[in-house]
Amino acid sequence: MNAGDILLSLVRDFPYALIGSAVLGAACAFLGTHIVAKRVVFYSAVLTQVSVLGLALTFLPVFPISHAIGSLGLTLISALLLSGLLTRRRLTRDAVLGVVFTGAIALRILVLQMTSTVDSAEIETLLRGDILFVTAELFYPVLGVAVVVLGLHVAFFKEFVYVSFDAETASTQGFRTAGWEMLFYATAAAVIALGTHMVGDLFVFGFMVLPAATALLVVRRVSRIFLTATVIGAFVPMLGLVVAFAADFPAGPTSLALALVLLLCAAIAARLRPQQ
């Protein structure tokens, strides 16, 4: 089977996996560029772990809600609480994030212990994130959220960039910087939560960081960095699916490995390029 045949087979048999991973990869990469630029990569790692905890909690009988709602709800609440906690001065930002990060992982392990063996296996499967098994029920919420989030970010691109670059001066010009920051983290939390539910935490976190880092290495215009990262985020997961299908690898890690290879190529290209 050649690559074209595999792609046709994927389009026919796994359309939600193909389009879903591309849409999610693009959304993660776009938001990830802001996250890398704001130097809050650890924040997105924390939110992915919180969304996993939210997902795991819904397997307990005391939380009889859908996995998506559980993951989304806990991640949004955490994002809002963190935006307040991170501005306090008693603990450093890293310390607060570290507490939430370890707390979320520890609680997830405890929750897994409290669930039945069948549920525990299902949670682990969800976390491993096999893109091939994306269903319509998982795909459409992610598509809806991605379209709304990317639409908001394109419409308010200059405001998000300004507040990210220099919030203090933006506030002196009348921008409600706390509101813009909250909107940014809420949109990131929504994508992280639903994305984690669809394809797992590793894929989401990886596509928040790798395409952005790649674009930053080889592109020298701000708008083109966002565009390049988004294109990488959209195409690499599709390519990853083809490679995974051909080599019988898990799709999520394969996509991340390809994104990493691309990053290494970009690093070499950046190194070889003459300094301006």
Partner: protein, 256 residues
Amino acid sequence: MDTIITFTNATLGYGRTAVLRGVSFAISRGEYFGLVGPNGTGKTTILRAILGSLRPMSGTVAIGGLHGTPLRFGYVPQRETVESILPHTVEEIVTMGRYRQIGLFRRPGAVDRGIVSESLEHVGIASLRHQVFRDLSGGQKQRALIARALASRPEVLLLDEPTNGMDLSSRLSILQLIDRLHSEDHLTIIMVSHLLDDVANHARRIAIVERDFFQVGAVDVVLTGENLSSLYRMPVRVERRGGRTIILAGGPDERR
């Protein structure tokens, strides 16, 4: 003169912690006003209160021209606070000064581009418009940030430590630019600095800011050896030579 900023017995701080108490002074339109004092004593806090991003814990801070008309501020932050991973060009940075006027859902138009070009030329960095901001020297970055503030068409220019960490020639060049904006463009200038020489030789009036020591007045009256010795808890002499004020730290023993 038209008083545009009035602090009346204001207590300023963050959360429940007061940084400055009983602050009272006024700034008139067209003044060149300096805020000086050691690091961490509340100079930037006063700046934030003027800009409206910090409300007084008690007392009042009244901002506005005649008949309460709102003032247009151009703020130049400490340049170390605006380092970015993204390769913003100088033109993009200066265009940010127009974002409020441009409004939501709109892109910069011909008028905005014209004002940006004018601002860049005004501060002498039109040739750097396509350069990446983070690759510039300290003096060039400072000019870009001043151009961004000018692009918002301000009446009052507030500068936070504009010459901090610069070599002598860049420092002088930035101070001359600020002087020109004051004398030729008639902007009200409020400059925060811990570099006493900068403020002493350019501002007309100053406020010495410290927790229990807040004095306002003409430079010659306030910037005395006695006041500065008390402020810095060490011998400080102020001498005037050839029309310039020179601040000398240390007593006679330290001069050797």
